[in-house]
């Protein structure tokens, strides 16, 4: 069974702090997505990583795909209250099924 394990499950920080959240698996994936979900809404795609070792930046967010394409991380620099939300990683299983991690719930206090 392919699983995506995310850590930490919950993170509460002050505005301006840096943080990293992780998405780990024992399986190799051809691509991995990060989404952010706010209460009462569906997930919104942030980025897709494809190549092992790839690093992508989206303003204050930095995404990395592990060399072996089994894990990924999301680093946020100088977090802001607007970054509050549930961060989900997701990957295709080679067929049509998509699996999601349980998510990291981030709360940034002003």
């Amino acid at each position: 069974t392919q699983l995506l394990e995310q850590s930490p499950q919950f993170l509460s920080i002050q505005e301006g702090e840096n943080l990293t959240v992780y998405c780990n698996s024992s399986s190799v994936f051809s691509s991995l997505q990060w989404y952010r979900q706010e209460p009462g809404e569906g997930p919104v795609l942030l980025v897709t990583v494809v190549t092992g070792g790839e690093v992508k930046k989206l303003k204050r967010l930095t995404f990395q795909f592990g060399d072996a394409r089994k894990d990924s991380s999301l680093h946020i620099t100088a977090a802001q209250p607007g970054d509050t939300g549930l961060y989900l990683c997701a990957a295709g299983t080679g067929g049509f099924k998509t699996i999601f991690g349980a998510g990291t719930r981030l709360f940034v206090k002003a």
Partner: protein, 116 residues
């Protein structure tokens, strides 16, 4: 709007009732996914359509769950004889062939189902 829409946004059902949840995908999107999201969890895959063909229904939890997309556009997820454990948010997502190879999906706001 050009996004994925779902209706109703909220549904309360008595145990044993049948419910139907609707998804309007982004126009032209070939792929359509249904997910179930329990409180505090990530979305769990239910089923996948490519146009009108249901190519994967491995995530449907029981034969009480049925999904259709008869004309390759709007999709309906039907739950018969609802049980309390069916209470969850049901998310629909669509994807176009060009970006679907990277599994990038656009989600609707979800339908929150509460079974009393």
């Amino acid at each position: 709007g050009a996004g994925v829409s779902q209706s109703p946004r909220y549904k309360v059902a008595k145990r044993g009732q049948d419910v139907a949840l609707r998804c309007d995908p982004i126009s032209g999107h070939v792929s359509l996914f249904w997910y179930q999201q329990a409180l505090g969890q990530g979305p769990e895959f239910l089923t996948y359509f490519q146009n009108e063909a249901q190519l994967d229904k491995s995530g449907l939890p029981s034969d009480r769950f049925f999904a259709e997309r008869p004309e390759g556009s709007v999709s309906t997820l039907k739950i018969q004889r609802t049980q309390q454990e069916d209470s969850a948010v049901y998310l629909c997502a669509s994807s176009s062939p060009g970006i679907g190879s990277y599994n990038e999906q656009f989600f609707g706001p979800g339908t929150r189902l509460t079974v009393l």
